[in-house]
């Protein structure tokens, strides 16, 4: 792979060393990130796949570190004069050397991206037919289907990384996605459903099983959605379904555990390392090693192997999520969280797949049965967090009121707001039904990167629910 990648980018090892040497004139660390991305898409709208295309992106980013200070520049050409110019621009940061985490050579991690059918050999006509079959499956299940808009996209990302420790790393990252928006009409009412899947694998992901899954998810509980109303708002217990509720961990805790926010004193968890932040028995993890998962990375974008990182063990904050800069600052090993959107961006600490391990408080039904008056939420859209305060929100597409331990009125289109540290401390029960959600989650902290999330069903004592 290394040899192939050098050829892809038309560069040799001596040339890599020479460019890094140019960068080191301005700091104590220099790394190069070559990337070639080919992105394809097909769009089904109004019953036909009549739109599509592909997009080619190519270039190299040069980063120079002078302690914690960063110089960054990139070139969309990998000819030597352009790369030297980028190295000189990055070296302009020049400053006092400081700690940068250096890692010894590590064993090559196993591939996390199984590809039974290579994207390079994909039959686009077959994929277009798959989209048409998906629409037919949805319409066959639900006569109230007004529109189906489905986009199938796939990308391959070839990267080559080289740094001032003479470490050369390469990776080939496939990603397949399908997103479906359905509009249903019943009388004068309309309902929208969004479903998606994303995997780091080959085109084999687009099979009949996935069609059945997506079609079922698109129409399931539709009668309740048409009947759903806004609840009366206020603070109440919230039972969160397994899977996509993991957005709670991502927004409310994960971002605040990213080490750059803590290094700068901005995070609400900046002074809580080693302290209890939630009830005993709770483990919260950020994992880059789940095969074929959207959030997985064989190497991060600094050449550090992907890892499984316990952020919270038995209720105690045990690790932030580090890139090389923050790892050097804190004097710890990097955790493989240095990620970037593309060669146009310098890496920063980012999540991968963030989830909570199973608890021992029974089943989802047990959690619901324990609530006298509250809300159960099972479908989520976007979320957001204010790092300093720790206030987070997430948007609920679908849920139900809980009255006397039973699900009653369906609810939808409500926002839920809470405070990360307080919500963590207020987790009252965790079921044993962990699910990782394989939707097209994308985190937008400064740059967009693919992530995933998961959680078992949990009960939180009090969150503020929007309503009338």
């Amino acid at each position: 792979m290394k040899k192939d990648s050098l050829e892809t980018f038309g560069i040799t090892l001596p040339e890599l060393r020479s460019i890094v040497a140019e960068g080191l004139k301005g700091g104590n660390w220099c790394d190069l990130y070559f990337e070639q991305t080919v992105y394809n898409d097909l769009l089904l709208r109004d019953g036909a796949v009549a739109s599509g295309g592909f997009h080619f992106d190519y270039g190299c980013g040069v980063r120079v570190l002078a302690g914690e200070k960063t110089g960054y520049a990139y070139s969309e050409s990998t000819d030597l004069p352009s790369l030297y110019a980028a190295a000189r621009a990055a070296a302009s940061i020049s400053g006092t050397p400081g700690a940068v985490c250096v890692t010894p050579p590590s064993p090559v991690p196993a591939s996390l991206y199984p590809m039974a059918q290579d994207w390079a050999e994909v039959d686009k006509k077959a994929l277009a037919a798959w989209l048409e079959k998906l629409e037919q499956a949805i319409r066959a299940r639900e006569s109230r289907t007004l529109k189906v808009i489905a986009m199938l996209s796939w990308s391959t990302d070839e990267v080559l990384m080289f740094n001032s420790l003479d470490q050369l790393t390469s990776d080939f990252r496939p990603l397949g996605n399908v997103t479906v928006t359905c509009i249903f009409a019943d009388g004068g009412k309309t309902e929208q459903r969004n479903v998606s899947r994303s995997y780091r694998c080959g085109s084999e992901m687009f099979d009949d099983t996935l069609i059945a899954e997506l079609a079922e998810e698109a129409v399931c509980g539709l009668d309740d959605s048409f009947a759903a109303r806004r609840p009366k708002g206020g603070k109440m217990p919230v039972v969160m379904a397994a899977g996509a509720s993991g957005i709670l961990l991502h927004e409310a805790m994960g971002h605040a555990f990213e080490a750059d926010f803590n290094r700068k004193g901005q995070s609400v968890f900046s002074d809580r390392m080693g302290r209890r932040i939630c009830p005993a028995g709770i483990n919260i993890i950020d994992d880059g090693t789940i095969p074929s998962c959207r959030g997985s990375i064989r190497y991060d974008d600094e050449g550090v192997p992907g890892q499984k990182t316990y952020m919270v063990r038995d209720g105690v904050l045990t690790s932030y999520l580090h890139d090389r800069i923050s790892a050097g600052f804190y004097g710890v090993e990097p955790t493989g969280n240095g990620r970037r959107e593309s060669f146009r961006y310098n890496p920063i600490p980012r999540m991968r797949t963030t989830y909570m391990e199973n608890g021992s408080d029974g089943t989802l039904q047990d959690l619901i049965a324990s609530v006298r008056k509250g809300i159960y939420v099972d479908k989520f859209a976007n979320g957001e967090v204010k790092i300093g305060e720790g206030d987070f929100t997430f948007y609920v597409n679908r849920g139900y009121l809980i009255e006397n331990g039973r699900l009653t009125m369906p609810v939808k289109d409500i926002n839920i707001i809470g405070n990360g540290p307080r919500a963590l401390a207020d987790i009252q029960a965790v079921a044993g039904d962990l699910q990782i959600d394989n939707g097209t989650w994308t985190c937008g902290k400064e740059q967009s990167v693919a992530v995933s999330c998961g959680i078992p069903s949990v009960l939180i004592g009090g969150l503020t629910v929007g309503g009338e």
Binding site: V49, S51, G52, A73, G95, G233, G265, I414
Partner: protein, 471 residues
């Protein structure tokens, strides 16, 4: 700026695509440079040099359509790319509504790219040293004893204002500031569009920007963050010196924030946050949303839907102002027009494709530069709106949330101030507003005249009655 050689490449690529079997082609060439200097606690933390260019190709062949882009702009690579692109287009389903816009509707006045007067020739004279000086000068930590040194480390000063231990924890000093992150940038964007019907137009602009986020800590150890920013197309009109001070004031105003009691309140939304309440309206008026049944404003053209106080103009033709442009993404000429006037829907955003599909007249593909007009009279600002409302909640920031585009139902997190008799009495946070956009805008009390000119979407402070708050 786009070079003569790059223009030749674009023109040659267009000819090659036609010779290779395309029936019609549009090529959009974009090029930009941006330099960024980021500061942390008054010292340079990061310098970034960005230089991008891309060729976007819209191909029409055999009644079919595809969109492609590439940033490797040498002739051989481009020709191979175009051949593969045409092959891809040919495997797609035919779509009779895909075509270039009527040539008569296209822009003919964007010749040299500088007609809108938002390209500052002074951009070329900015040096790396200038950028660093501007970034450092704007820092609120500048001049405070004990601020971060040139090596980026944070150490305690004689008055103990700032300190950082080896454990990486930073604690607030007498000024209460634990962290200040600033970012100065200047940039140049250049766009060149041609099509096979003879369209040729260009748009060039520069921008000078500064943004800052400040985190403070109160006596209980609770942290509060807030931000401020400014921007200008012109170096001479660019002044970032107040940004840090405003960000600190905004953060301090949040100290001790807690939810207010749930209920219906008058709501004033400060101009810096108000765009959040306008974007869903503009999205719902886009023909793509309407045609797909995904708009709560479908079928409302010509109808009075909102309060008579709501007038939204699309004003891309304001010379010398951020966001102005003579043409849209298809090269169609843009003019100042009402989108909503006196609460009546006046214009959908309809591109050529949607015009054919929906059998309605095309307009422009999007609202390029929205401006909400003052109502009921000029001269109102946030404080005056609070005075008009008497009691209510001032929203200074939104935190997450969403809008269901098929129904207009929304729910957003907010923070701001509870006010009584027109005066802020205490900060509020961890609250939600919930409602429906058609209903919300029917309950408009007034709109201000205080939109920030540095924004490309000019939305002033807004006042509404009877909004549901949950806390």
């Amino acid at each position: 700026m786009i070079t003569t050689e790059e223009i030749r490449l674009a023109q040659e690529s267009l000819r090659f695509a036609l010779d290779s079997g395309a029936d019609a082609v549009r090529i959009t060439l974009t090029k930009s440079t941006e330099d960024i200097v980021a500061t942390l606690d008054g010292a340079v933390d990061k310098v970034t040099r960005c230089a991008d260019r891309s060729m976007n190709i819209a191909l029409f062949a055999g009644g079919r359509y595809g969109a492609f882009s590439i940033n490797k702009l040498d002739e051989a690579t481009l020709q191979d790319f175009i051949i593969r692109a045409i092959d891809t287009v040919r495997m797609l389903a035919p779509d009779s509504f895909r075509r270039l816009p009527d040539a008569a509707r296209c822009c003919k006045t964007a010749i040299n790219g500088k007609e809108m007067g938002i390209y500052d020739d002074a951009y070329a004279s900015v040096t790396p040293e200038d950028r660093i000086a501007r970034a450092l000068a704007a820092s609120v930590r500048n001049g405070i004893p004990g601020r971060a040194g040139n090596d980026g480390t944070v150490s305690a000063g004689n008055d103990g204002t700032v300190s950082a231990g080896n454990d990486g924890t930073a604690s607030a000093g007498n000024d209460g500031i634990v962290s200040e992150e600033g970012e100065y940038s200047d940039s140049e964007y250049d766009t060149y569009v041609i099509d096979s019907q003879g369209l040729e137009c260009r748009h060039s602009e520069t921008s000078f920007d500064y943004g800052v986020e400040v985190t403070i800590q109160d006596s209980k150890g609770d942290r509060y963050s807030d931000y401020w920013w400014t921007a200008s197309p012109f170096l001479s009109g660019f002044d970032a010196m107040e940004c840090g001070k405003i960000a600190v004031e905004r953060a301090r105003a949040q100290v001790g924030a807690k939810p207010a009691r749930s209920g219906k309140y008058n709501m004033v939304v400060s101009t810096e946050a108000a765009s959040k309440l306008v974007s869903p309206l503009l999205n719902a008026l886009n023909a793509y949303s309407i045609q797909q049944g995904n708009s709560f404003l479908a079928g409302t053209l010509g109808q009075k839907v909102f309060s008579e106080g709501l007038t939204i103009m699309d004003e891309p033709g304001r010379i010398g102002e951020s966001g102005s442009k003579l043409f849209d993404g298809e090269g169609v000429a843009c003019f100042n027009q009402p989108v909503i006037e006196g609460g009546v829907i006046k214009r959908y955003s309809v591109n050529t494709y949607m015009s054919g599909k929906m059998q309605i007249e095309p307009t422009v593909e999007d609202v390029l530069r929205a401006r909400v007009a003052p109502w009921p009279y000029e001269g109102l600002d946030r404080d005056k709106l609070m005075g008009i409302c008497g009691n209510g909640i001032l929203v200074t920031d939104f935190n997450g949330g969403n809008c269901n585009m098929t129904t207009g139902d929304f729910s957003y997190g907010i923070s701001g101030q509870l006010f009584r008799n027109g005066v802020a009495v205490r900060p509020v946070s961890e609250m939600l507003i919930t409602g429906n956009f058609r209903d919300l805008w029917q309950h408009l009390i007034a709109t201000g005249s205080d939109a920030r000119k540095c924004s490309t979407r000019l939305v002033p402070s807004l006042a509404f009655e009877g909004v549901d708050f949950s806390g």
